[in-house]
């Protein structure tokens, strides 16, 4: 059946038809849809785990029990899951296991641009890397067999362009894969020194066998052209850009298995062309391997290690090196310089009221990862730092331990509900245990927001939308050792300010739960948009200070865009002249 699929849906179909029985993941752009599409199948177990380490260990447990399993995460998620990964390389698997990891070159939605291929090399496990949805489907489907044949988890690398680009895929039928038996095997699965020492040589021998596979497999292929002036070794979406420029008029060695890499295949290809280029996004992984073989090649000197490529960047780089380009597009004209349009928090976003309160009171804010990271942009400029998942809660403790009472009274950490579940809890235990007078604000919008509304352990629903055990955040924080726990509605500016000032003044650590569901949730019904009474508006611009996209200035007065406003009423509380309002009766409906 031919379908137009984004890369992530193609991976999901590949894994499904390849006989997957369990998927456990934590959402993260650009990987999220792999798990969302798998969750549509009721004949497999699917779940959102609290973080990537848990997800990977769940998949490992299922594999050990004899069921084909997978997990999916973004590149930085693999940092969290690295601990089980490195030792699973030693234990191997029982039923096939695939770890999908999606890199984000150009950082469309990420805090760094790390290249996951290094993990495959460091953990000594095979990695597959498709170029489009059709390959993503085929590679994913075959990955379980690869995993089982070589007794290893398989890393499956995607990147934003492939994950979120659609192309036509011929989707076949699901393979019926029976569970494997579970047999107790201490020397395989108990990685204490005595057994692990026996395993390491097996891992090294496995890599040698995988190198043989790399010489002759469906993942790596040579496309020879009549032209021997130059040849290109490439992988991932760079392959597509190369083909876009040259079609079939250039010889290409396409690498679909970036670890381990072949030697003979590369030597033979290099010998067939007079000049060799290696085109790969991010780090020079293929290039370093080729150079180590003693082969002359041009790579990062022409093609940047920073950001994404396109047919344009590759065309220009090759042209600068004297390569003739078949066809150069001619533009109608140059684009004029226009103001930027950075992403921002939505109209009615519940985070805005709390951020306004923090900014108004000149509070230092140790931030975290989620929609609320957008509090960093103008005009709020509310954040002082954003590092990684959970780092706000651990970070504020170190910050306050370093500066003591000077900062304890004017610093908060902000973290979302899902991020708190992911890795904020351990930091909070540390605050209580090692006693800094830190204030943590949990921005509880009752969903995992930025990645597109996934359920988490605080929402009361599971991945299928079915009712599930719901973590009681207040009780949890108390159980972790925090005595002062209070809840505020971030739409109520007065209550927010009271809570923040009182908890900062308190002589012990505290947690404020700023609770209001995301306005984009289906069950949250927008209220009637507010209006500005132009006669009452004094043009003081106070309402503009919280950065609501619905409010702008026209003809010297504030105005509210009725197509965007959801009637949250925060701006109404800011206006000292009563100029902002609307039909209150209507809004209460």
């Amino acid at each position: 059946m031919k379908k137009l699929l984004i890369g992530n849906e193609a991976v999901a179909w590949g894994l499904y038809n390849g006989g997957i029985g369990l998927v456990s993941s934590y959402p993260g752009t650009p990987s999220t849809e792999i798990t969302e599409f798998l969750a549509k199948h009721d004949d497999i177990h699917s779940e959102w785990a609290p973080n990537e380490k848990v997800a990977t260990e769940v998949a490992f447990g299922a594999s050990m029990a004899g069921m084909r399993s997978a997990c999916a995460m973004k590149h930085v998620g693999l940092n969290v899951a690295a601990d089980p990964l490195f030792t699973m390389s030693y234990t191997g698997i029982t039923a096939g296991m695939v770890i999908c990891v999606a890199d984000d070159p150009a950082m469309h939605s990420s805090q760094n641009e790390q290249d996951s291929r290094h993990y495959a090399i460091a953990a000594k496990v095979p990695m597959l890397e498709p170029s489009d949805s059709a390959e993503a489907y085929e590679f994913a489907k075959s990955a379980f067999a690869l995993s089982e044949e070589y007794d290893t988890p398989v890393l499956f690398r995607m990147c934003t362009r492939i994950a979120h680009s659609q192309c036509v895929v011929d989707v076949g039928e699901r393979e019926n894969v029976p569970m494997k038996d579970y047999v107790k095997q201490p020397s395989k699965y108990i990685m204490m020194p005595g057994y692990a020492k026996l395993k390491h040589p097996i891992v090294e021998a496995r890599t040698e066998k995988l190198k043989e596979l790399a010489e002759n497999c469906v993942y790596n292929r040579v496309e020879l052209a009549d032209n021997d002036e130059f040849g290109i070794i490439t992988s991932g979406c760079s392959y597509l850009y190369v083909k876009e420029i040259f079609g079939d008029s250039v010889s290409v060695l396409k690498i679909g298995m970036p670890n381990p890499l072949p030697e003979k295949l590369i030597r033979d290809f290099a010998a067939k062309v007079k000049k060799l280029y290696v085109i790969e996004e991010l780090d020079p992984v293929l290039e370093n391997h080729i150079r180590a073989l003693g082969i002359e090649v041009k790579g990062k000197e022409l093609f940047s290690a920073i950001g994404e490529f396109s047919q344009k960047t590759i065309r220009e780089a090759l042209q600068s090196d004297g390569i003739a380009i078949p066809e150069i597009p001619e533009a109608q004209g140059e684009a004029p310089a226009v103001p930027g349009r950075p992403p921002m928090m939505c109209s009615g976003c519940p985070h805005r009221g709390m951020y306004y309160t923090l900014v108004k009171n000149h509070i230092t804010v140790i931030g975290d990862i989620g929609c609320y990271t957008l509090g960093a942009v103008a005009p709020l400029n509310a954040l002082d730092s954003t590092l990684c998942m959970g780092a706000s809660v651990s970070g504020i403790h170190g910050f306050n331990a370093a500066r003591g009472a000077e900062t304890e009274k004017k610093t908060v950490a902000v973290i979302g509900d899902s991020t708190f579940m992911h890795s904020g809890m351990t930091g909070l235990v540390n605050i209580a245990y090692n006693a800094t007078n830190s204030t943590v604000i949990i921005l509880d919008n009752s969903i995992t927001g930025m990645t597109g509304h996934q359920q988490n352990p605080t929402t009361g629903y599971n991945i299928k939308g079915d009712p599930a055990a719901k973590v009681d955040l207040e009780a949890l924080c108390r159980a972790l050792g925090i005595n002062r726990v209070r809840v505020v509605d971030p739409y109520d500016l007065k209550a927010c300010e009271e809570a923040v000032l009182e908890e900062l003044a308190a002589e012990e650590p505290s947690v404020i739960i700023s609770r209001r569901p995301c306005v984009l949730l289906k069950y949250v019904k927008p209220k009637t948009p507010l209006t500005v009474d132009r006669d009452k508006c004094h043009a003081c611009r106070k309402c503009m200070k919280m950065g609501c996209p619905s409010i702008s200035f026209k003809d010297g007065k504030a105005q509210i865009d009725r197509t965007l406003c959801v009637g949250c009423g925060v701006c109404e509380q800011l206006c000292a002249f009563g100029a902002i309002g609307g039909n209150k009766d209507e809004r209460c409906q």
């Binding site: 292929r221 597009p329 684009a335 349009r341 992403p343």
Partner: protein, 213 residues
């Protein structure tokens, strides 16, 4: 396994040679706008339609942070064989813009002789709202003066008439449909496939309004 790949590659080359004489050039469309305006649904509609029409299609979408009110761009490319999922400078045949400023932002991607369809709606970006920058006056007129082929019209009004500002995406796609050679009934078939049945009637009205605008 390698043999199979070689056979497949040889087969592909043969196919290419066969097709070379009648090879159709890849057409590139960019759908640009502001996160939240519904460009994803517009690109799904176009992708579904073109796949049904038998083209090789690639669509590149935007997910994640940039969707939050930021400038968003979706690429749709179709032809006999499409490789790259993205469109760069001078390669775009049609830019469909949901907002004036965004049309200008991506105008450099338009190929010589290409066309920009643009909704005359103005949505101020945050630097304009905060006063750090000004929304350029006469942004479309300036593009026209530079020789750009601009088809500008108000898509928000018809969308409101159809029942919701949210159907502005379908009004625009209806207007684009009138520029293509693909029969209208094929567009409507594709609409029925991608739109939630609850909102289909409203969107069919929106499509008609755009088509005849």
């Amino acid at each position: 396994m390698n043999n199979r790949t070689q056979q497949a590659a040889a087969q592909m080359r043969d196919n290419c040679e066969l097709r070379e004489s009648k090879m159709e050039k890849t057409t590139s469309v960019m759908i640009v706008g502001v996160g939240g305006q519904g460009s994803l649904l517009a690109s799904r509609l176009l992708g579904t339609l073109l796949t049904d029409e038998g083209y090789d299609v690639k669509v590149s979408e935007v997910h994640g942070m940039s969707q939050r009110g930021g400038s968003v761009v979706t690429y749709v490319r179709f032809g006999d064989k499409v490789y790259s999922p993205i469109v760069t400078e001078g390669e775009c045949d049609y830019i469909i813009s949901f907002e004036k400023l965004e049309a200008a932002r991506y105008a450099g991607c338009l190929r010589k002789g290409g066309k920009i369809i643009v909704n005359t709606q103005q949505i101020d970006p945050m630097p304009v709202i905060t006063g750090a920058a000004e929304y350029p006056e006469n942004v479309l007129e300036d593009l026209k003066a530079k020789g750009f082929d601009i088809d500008d019209f108000d898509a928000l009004g018809p969308a409101m008439e159809a029942g919701s500002a949210k159907s502005v995406n379908i009004v625009l796609m209806g207007h684009f449909a009138a520029c293509t050679e693909i029969p209208k009934e094929k567009w409507i078939e594709a609409l029925k496939k991608v739109i939630n049945p609850k909102f289909l009637d409203m969107n069919l009205i929106a499509f008609e309004k755009g088509f005849s605008a």
